[in-house]
């Protein structure tokens, strides 16, 4: 529990510049983000504003060109950091949800959740039991043996949320998690996030261009042209 209270992911003054055919493209000019336990932070802004780039830096999927990422007050990523070496941290502390559920098509719903634990050296039996509990908690307990192709878009997204929760992460990073869903299912996903933040004290970051969900956020970061507005 102490881990939850202390842990907060922080991105400080991060920028990201890509080389593109000899010219340099700035995807994120200056972004700072603080994710607190039990809080949902929204990142909103139009397409190309740098939302996803900031999320990728926070999720240790990209290193910043400048700035740094801190966890529990310690710097874990900075320019030039080796992303491969951050894989273990990602495995134990972070959960991801995307616009597309990105489920592995040859695994059942329960296996898609369990695999996230098994790659983290959790035993098969324990992983399956926990996967079943997580799916049940998200109202998907009866669909555990179904393959992704047999699930609706909303059901797939709930499975991907269960997968994100598999290793009891401190932080969940969600990139446009409702974009591919109809209004009712999108609302349900946001309610799930709210519930997770409140009941498990998970720090959640939701990237969206849909301003309907602002009421679910405890704080909101608005980006435009790679900068906070």
């Amino acid at each position: 529990m102490s881990k939850r209270r202390l842990a907060a992911l922080e991105v400080r003054n991060a920028s990201k510049v890509y080389d593109s055919g000899g010219s340099q493209v700035t995807a994120l000019a200056a972004g700072s983000l603080t994710l607190s336990p039990g809080a949902i932070t929204g990142i909103v802004g139009p397409s190309g504003s740098g939302k996803t780039t900031l999320l990728m830096i926070a999720g240790l999927l990209e290193t910043p060109t400048t700035g740094e990422v801190l966890f529990d007050g310690k710097v874990i990523s900075r320019p030039g950091a080796k992303l491969n070496e951050l894989r273990a941290f990602r495995r134990t502390h972070l959960g991801f949800v995307f616009q597309k559920a990105n489920l592995i098509p040859f695994l059942t719903a329960a296996e898609n959740v369990a695999i996230a634990m098994q790659v983290n050296d959790v035993g098969r039996q324990k992983a399956q039991e926990r996967a079943g509990r997580l799916l049940s908690a998200l109202g998907m307990g009866h669909r555990g043996s179904n393959y992704p192709s047999q699930l609706s878009g909303g059901e797939q997204q709930r499975v991907s949320i269960a997968r994100a929760l598999a290793n009891d992460p401190t932080v969940i990073l969600a990139d446009e998690p409702t974009a591919a869903l109809d209004g009712q299912r999108a609302e349900m996903v946001m309610k799930v996030f709210r519930h997770l933040a409140d009941s498990r004290e998970v720090a959640i970051c939701v990237v969206t261009h849909d301003t309907r969900w602002i009421s679910y956020f405890d704080s909101t970061l608005e980006l435009e042209d790679g900068r906070a507005r």
């Binding site: 999927l61 992303l83 894989r87 495995r91 098509p105 695994l107 695999i115 997968r163």
Partner: protein, 382 residues
Amino acid sequence: MNLAIKDIRHNLLRFVLTVFGVGLLMAATIGMLGMYRGIVYEALVVIDGIGADLWVVEGGKSGPFAESSAVPANLDRRVAGVAGVAATRRFIQYNQQFQFDGLPLRMSITGVDFPSDSGSWIPLIAGRYFQSNRYEAIADKTLGLVVGDEIRLGRDTYTIVGVATGQVDMGGDGLLFVTIADAQVINQLLPSEAILLNRAAKGKTRMGLGDDTGSVAAVIVETLPGADKEVVRDTIKRWGDVEVLTKQDQETLLLDGRLGKLRVQILAFTTMTLLICCAVIALTIYTMTIEKVAQIALLKLIGARDRVIIGMIAQQAGLIGFCGLVLAIAISFTIYPRFPRTVLITESDLGVLSAVLMALSLAASWFAIRRALAVRAQEVLA
């Protein structure tokens, strides 16, 4: 959980088709190697079976298998007098086509020196060995003759008294064993005009043949136990009119001489099919990996170690190779025994091919593994 097995079960049809393709290619490879072994076996079947230590053949020749040879039919008596010689037998072999049941039948007539040799070294599956010096024959089963059949060879009719197995020459013609006396008669059948012309010449019989004892292809020598074969060989060679070859000489003449180019060609084709196998497996595994880039990226995103991803790809490649090999062996043992020529599948060849295929399968997966390791976790978002 085993991701390789899960993926294969999910794409079972593609896996089955790939295994089928690899299996057929491997079966072709096994078949080609088996064909080569079969040709070698057929070429050496008489040399290995007849039990000769030395072959006395026409001087300056490498007969009677690698090239023609003719020595006087009574040469065996001269050879028998050499110190260290235990026994001699005369040998004749030639190919000829006859008619049986109105159909042409090609065979390799092989003379057995009865009564000193009853043909007891011939592996019979039916009937008996020679009991008479004339008009009896033992046929290889590939000739389609059975015990009791009668076949017209030249001017005479011969009765099949035994049926043998695995007795074919290097051309694939089944052997028909007859006595030396009969082999000479069958071989010396001349057309009417030739007989008339020969009768007009001096010293010819009414059959148009010379009044000598005729010729045979070679004299086979068995040396006494403890006798120095080289000494016996040198003694006979010193006569000057004959050549003496050891069993090893005969094998070398056939394998490195007559069959040398065929051997190289078959091995070249075998290498080609193995490389094609490798390319098929590599392409399949690579394609399967490319299709799974999003899933590999996801596995990396959730923190899967590289060994999980490498294991999935390598196991799939290994399974394709293994299942293809099992299918190839099953095909080989089902189909090749029905082929007209001997396809000899040896355990050592299967062992080597299995090891090579498994190594090639794993090597083929290297391209896919390289691609998979280059996938970045953020490609999930792509």
